[in-house]
Amino acid sequence: MSCTVHIPSPLRSYTAGALKVPADGTTLEEVLASLEGRFTGIRFRLVDEQSRIRPHIRFYVNAREAQELSAPVGTSDTVHVICALTGG
């Protein structure tokens, strides 16, 4: 059970620069736990202490927005993490 997660540029310091990383899980919540297991600290950058998605982060599963961490994720799905960028 493995999906592919696209990591936004500001968070690639956690993934040693990797843009795409594999992760396990059947929901977004489990995918985040899987990421946290390998890249300590990354989860807290995406969701807050109450497990709410941070307001500058958006999740997409196969290009459909996922607004809840309970959103299902299937094998070979693509999860896009979008982070607000500030640079001009």
């Binding site: 696209h6 936004p8 540029s9 500001p10 690639r12 310091s13 843009l19 600290g41 807290f44 950058r45 941070r54 307001p55 500058h56 958006r58 997409y60 290009a63 459909r64 927005e65 896009h80 979008i82 982070c83 607000a84 960028l85 500030t86 640079g87 001009g88």
Partner: protein
């Protein structure tokens, strides 16, 4: 005013396109476009808009040209160093196309001037490098009913989206509230020089389409570009019914200044002058609680020179490393100019640290007022 012989010759390749033709070119000439930020995005955008014959271009920027700008800000040359960006840009754009008008606004957009500036234009391009400006410009465009083409960049990644009043989501629908400092800026993280060239020309392309009334703008579609993979990804964005500015019950009915730099009511940051900090350090040495000095510059800048006893936690890592000093005393954040350290205060304050402090004016102020031998590395 119709197109003169010179203009017909200049825009011949446009005039041959049935989608544009003489009437479309006339529409471009009659359109006024405001470019917010004459930086990495604004330079290529303005260059192509001027070349395309957008009749009136407005440029907003209060900065002056620095050497480190020239890696991506293609309107400027080495001879422009130290000049106001909008003035140097105006000369370059009029040299390219004397048929157009270029208006300059050498100022920082604020709640009390943003509407006055934007009102004079038909389309707005946002290429600013501050989130607070992005929200301010978005809110003004929603309230004044102006199309807004927004883009942003970071290292090798870029994003773009177009807002058309009444037709799709605005920037607040995309990111309801982003705290400045939550995302690292390019000054800290670096940016591939050609990246804003790609995104800035996409912004120009969108403005020209809107002006000419052709094609399908990026409405409700976030375009995400990765230069390393050379991939474009399009992700849908819906309008939020509860959007604070374009939603059904908007709370924002006039532009207002946001961001920690202006939000002094909510952010209880202690602002220390260089002299304050020197005195505080002296008294902490003899008695009193230890001062926790956190230098939030990049490791390279920190390694070049730092204050004795300061610990280096780059701003981009601060949020995940707060535990390293929480409870050890009141932190005082340091950086080069005082901008990043203020953002650090905001991050710390949101995380529950009651009295974060920062060195106003940064280590540059320290060098100017306390220690003339203290050399501050460039950012």
């Amino acid at each position: 005013m119709t197109l003169c012989a010179n203009e017909r010759a200049r825009y011949r390749r446009h005039l041959s396109l049935p989608e544009i033709g003489p009437s479309g070119q006339q529409r471009l000439k009659d359109t006024r476009v405001l470019v917010v930020g004459t930086g990495g995005l604004g330079c290529p955008a303005a260059l192509y808009l001027a070349a395309a014959g957008i009749g009136t271009l407005g440029l907003v920027d209060f900065d002056r040209v620095e050497l480190s700008n020239l890696q991506r800000q293609v309107l400027f040359g080495t001879e422009d160093l130290g000049q106001l960006k909008v003035e140097a840009a105006r000369r370059r754009l009029l040299a390219l196309n004397p048929e157009i008008a270029v208006l300059t606004h050498a100022l920082t957009l604020r709640a009390d001037n943003v509407c006055e500036v934007i009102e004079g234009y038909d389309i707005v391009l946002d290429g600013s490098d501050r989130l607070s400006t992005r929200y301010l410009v978005n809110d003004a465009c929603v309230l004044l009913g102006r199309p807004l083409v927004t883009a942003a960049i970071h290292r090798f990644e870029g994003q773009a989206m177009t807002y058309i009043p009444g037709l799709g989501p605005c920037y607040r629908c995309l990111f309801p509230q982003v705290e400045e400092g939550a995302v690292a800026s390019c000054a800290e993280a670096g940016v591939l020089g050609v990246l804003p060239g790609v995104l800035g020309t996409i912004q120009a392309n969108e403005a020209i389409k809107i002006a000419a009334g052709i094609g399908a703008p990026l409405i409700g579609r976030l375009l995400s570009y990765d230069a390393l993979e050379l991939s474009f990804t399009e992700l849908p964005v819906s309008r939020r019914h509860d959007c604070r500015v374009c939603g059904e019950h908007p709370q924002i009915t006039a532009p207002r200044d946001i961001g920690p730099a202006c939000d002094t009511e909510t952010l209880a940051a202690r602002r220390l002058s260089a002299i304050d900090l020197r005195d505080l350090l002296a008294s902490a040495e003899s008695a009193g609680p230890p001062l926790v000095l956190i230098d939030v510059r990049e490791p390279r800048e920190f390694a070049a020179r730092h204050l004795e006893g300061a610990r280096n936690i780059p701003l981009r890592e601060l949020e995940s490393r707060l535990a390293e000093f929480a409870g050890a005393g009141d932190p005082v954040f340091l950086c080069r100019s005082g901008h990043r350290s203020l953002l650090a205060c905001a991050i710390a304050w949101r995380a529950g640290i009651a009295a974060p402090g920062h060195l106003e004016g940064g280590l540059l102020a320290w060098a100017a007022e306390v220690d003339a031998d203290f050399e501050v590395a460039s950012d």
